[in-house]
């Protein structure tokens, strides 16, 4: 096992900058996810770690060894591709044993190791089946097995579950997490699916346009997003953003909605912070749908008024879409919630979960 450290890593394709001065440290034995929308440079980063792409600038370290000039086959990494990259002209056993065969391991050892892996992945009965005939679910298992057999120091997974059907994906998520915890394998997982990243990873690196936005535990990413991009990208349904400006009255601070009349009181610490913020007339308040409650009457002086537009009943919860001034917001309500469109509701905001961002830079103010 090993840790991975990226220092000022940069990758250009012609005039396009895919990864911009990336600094990251994935600790030994942890499960880390690189999360971002497509085209954010996450796969490029992964390919550079594996050695399939050469960085334009910057360094890659495994533990303390610089790996830039080490060829991919000598880096001792396992790589699972999104489209599995199964060798369809071989049997399952040959696929799984490929890495050992290339290394010149003798046949009996290969057979033994393949047997072990097959048992772990429940492929024992299928070892002699031609890999071209497999279902995508089994292909993904074979791809995992092929990478696992060489006992890599670092395991890289590039959206490995995105083509699987929903039930099997959930199952594999659990399995992968279990295997990772059991053997303490350093894993780096690329995904655009926040649920995957949140549910599996110890650490998440959120990227956008080749730039690292935030790196931290799922809890940090979710509760303390550093900017509007991260705040918006994580969470489903996503965070509500309302353009507002800061106002101070009688020594108390308020956030006043720009396209509407909503007003939220803020605490003293925030008031002082915003008082001294130069762009305090151009702010965004952000609050997640799950951190608000709906009431028929104003239960406190902090409640803001909104009108129900429509409901989205999801089973365990209902997403209520409301009109707040001229803006659209979402609030999570219990499944029994059944108010009709047009009904006036009072929203109670949990101030602990209120985020304030600078509207120009998108950076959080806290």
């Amino acid at each position: 096992m090993a840790s991975v450290r990226l220092e000022n890593l940069r990758k250009e394709f012609g005039t396009v900058v895919a990864v911009k001065e990336l600094n990251l440290h994935f600790p030994d034995g942890k499960f880390a996810a690189i999360l971002g929308p497509s085209g954010c440079g996450k796969t490029t980063t992964m390919n550079m770690i594996a050695g399939l792409e050469t960085p334009t600038r910057g360094s890659i370290y495994f533990d303390d060894r610089r790996m830039n000039d080490v060829p991919p086959g000598k880096r001792d990494v396992g790589f699972v591709f999104q489209n599995y990259a199964i060798f369809t002209h071989m049997t399952i056993a040959e696929n799984i044993g490929f890495g050992l065969k290339i290394r010149g391991v003798d046949e009996t050892t290969i057979r033994r190791e393949v047997g072990k892996i097959a048992e772990l992945l429940e492929l024992t009965d299928m070892l002699n089946v031609n890999a071209g005939r497999l279902s995508v679910n089994d292909m993904q298992k074979v791809a995992l097995g092929r990478s696992m057999i060489v006992k890599p120091r670092i395991f890289l997974l590039d959206e490995p579950f995105s083509n699987l059907d929903a039930a099997f994906r959930a199952f594999m998520r659990g399995e992968l997490k279990r295997i990772q915890r059991e053997i303490g394998q350093t894993m780096i997982y690329v995904t655009h699916d926040q649920v995957e990243a949140m549910s599996m990873a110890d650490l998440i690196a959120v990227m956008d346009f080749g730039v690292l936005q935030q790196f931290g535990s799922p809890d940090e990413i979710y509760n303390q997003p550093v900017n509007t991009f991260v705040a918006n990208f994580i969470g489903s349904p996503n965070m509500n953003f309302v353009a507002c400006s800061f106002r101070s009255e009688d020594g108390k601070g308020y956030l006043v909605q720009k396209r509407g009349s909503a007003r939220i009181a803020i605490d003293e610490r925030r008031r002082q912070l915003l008082e001294h913020h130069s762009g305090n007339q151009d702010l965004i308040w952000g609050i997640r749908p799950e951190h608000m409650t709906l009431h028929a009457e104003p239960i406190s002086s902090d409640c803001i008024q909104a009108v129900v537009r429509f409901l989205e009943p999801l089973g365990p919860k209902t997403v209520v879409h409301l009109r707040l001034g001229e803006e659209h917001i979402k609030v999570i309500a219990p499944p029994s919630y059944r108010e009709a469109a047009g009904v006036v509701q009072w929203i109670q905001i949990n101030p602990q979960y209120l985020h304030v961002f600078d509207a120009k830079t998108g950076v959080v103010i806290r």
């Binding site: 594996a50 050695g51 399939l52 991919p72 086959g73 489209n83 890495g99 092929r146 060489v150």
Partner: protein, 352 residues
């Protein structure tokens, strides 16, 4: 479903029969003619024999035996050496083209960036510039009188390659699309009529003493069919996801290992159909073999051409017999690889 009117069906089947007849009749005529005695294949007494009346093997006997008889015969020698020659040079040329062409195609497929249309113009400009640069030297060489000698040809060839490299590199600085123009410049080899290059090749080959040798023909066949191999195999390799090579490389394989153990086995259908295509091209070549062989290594098409003399006319019967024999290798080869052929041809045809 509406029933098709009778007259339409009649017309349809009549057309089918006519077209099929047009395609199969020459083959039928060759096959039957091979078994006809001379009175039947020649029009000497004015009757056309649609089917052989007295089937005989004498035509095969004529082409396959040497003749030491008293009377004149078109071929003194047997066709056997030419059959041997055809087999050796066609297979050799095919293997040579496959070997270098497949490697080149893999390189172009994996280590290149699609650069659009511009490389065409770059490559064309390069060709034009090359001719302009070399023309004065050609005049000079002719004036010095060394164009006829091997060292004259050698210096001119080296000069040509050097000038081409220089122009290529200069243009490469203006436009960065090296691999795109490379793939295209390979195709350039086929952009002028073969006759135009065969004569210079003949001069070169005579200087290098490669005329009338099997390896001389293999080299020419290999080079001439190389562009087809590159472009066909490149399309097959392009179909194979790059992740497969990458997976093999990450698992510890070298570039060669990934190519030989993963990519090539997956492209074997394409390789088989390319091999057949190139083999047929080599097998049926007449012009190159005619100019580059004399006594020892003429191929079947060249030998067929010799089955004619001013005294007894064209020997159609023996020609048909040898032609029938010449059909066998491609057909057998085709049947052997049929399993891969259909898959290979469709596999390469679909573009993503």
């Amino acid at each position: 479903m509406q029933k098709t009117p009778t007259w339409q069906r009649v017309v349809r089947y009549a057309l089918v029969i006519i077209v099929v007849g047009m395609f199969t009749f020459p083959t039928y005529w060759m096959v039957t003619m091979a078994f006809k005695p001379k009175v039947e294949w020649s029009t000497a007494h004015g009757t056309i024999y649609w089917v052989p009346k007295n089937p005989t093997l004498e035509n095969f006997d004529t082409v396959l035996t040497e003749y030491r008889g008293q009377f004149f015969r078109a071929n003194q020698s047997s066709a056997l050496p030419s059959i041997r020659s055809s087999i050796i040079v066609s297979i050799g040329g095919t293997l040579f083209a496959l070997l270098i062409g497949t490697l080149a195609a893999y390189g172009l497929s994996r280590f290149s960036v699609d650069t659009g249309d511009l490389p065409w113009y770059v490559a064309l400009g390069r060709l034009a510039l090359l001719i302009l640069v070399l023309l004065p030297f050609m005049v000079l060489w002719a004036w010095l009188g060394i164009i006829r000698y091997w060292y004259g040809i050698l210096t001119f060839t080296i000069l040509g390659i050097a000038a081409d490299q220089l122009i290529g590199r200069l243009l490469g600085r203006i436009y960065r699309g090296p691999t795109g123009s490379l793939a295209f410049s390979i195709l350039q080899l086929r952009m002028f009529p073969p006759m135009a290059i065969v004569i210079p090749v003949m001069i070169m080959w005579s200087a290098f003493k490669l005329i009338d040798t099997w390896y001389g023909l293999v080299a020419v066949y290999g080079v001439v069919t190389f562009p087809f191999v590159v472009w066909l195999m490149k399309s097959f390799f392009d179909e194979i996801p790059r992740e497969l090579d990458e997976a093999a490389i990450v698992d510890g394989a070298s570039n060669w290992g990934a190519f030989l153990k993963v990519v090539l086995p997956l492209a074997k259908g394409g390789l088989a159909s390319t091999a057949l295509f190139v083999f047929i091209l080599n097998w049926s070549d007449f012009l190159i073999a005619l100019l580059l062989t004399t006594r020892d290594w003429p191929t079947i098409p060249v030998f067929l051409n010799s089955l004619v003399s001013s005294e007894i006319g064209a020997q159609h019967g023996p020609k048909a017999a040898l032609g029938l024999l010449a059909v066998i290798p491609p057909v057998v080869f085709g049947i052997l690889i049929q399993r891969y052929l259909v898959r290979g041809l469709t596999f390469g045809a679909i573009k993503r």
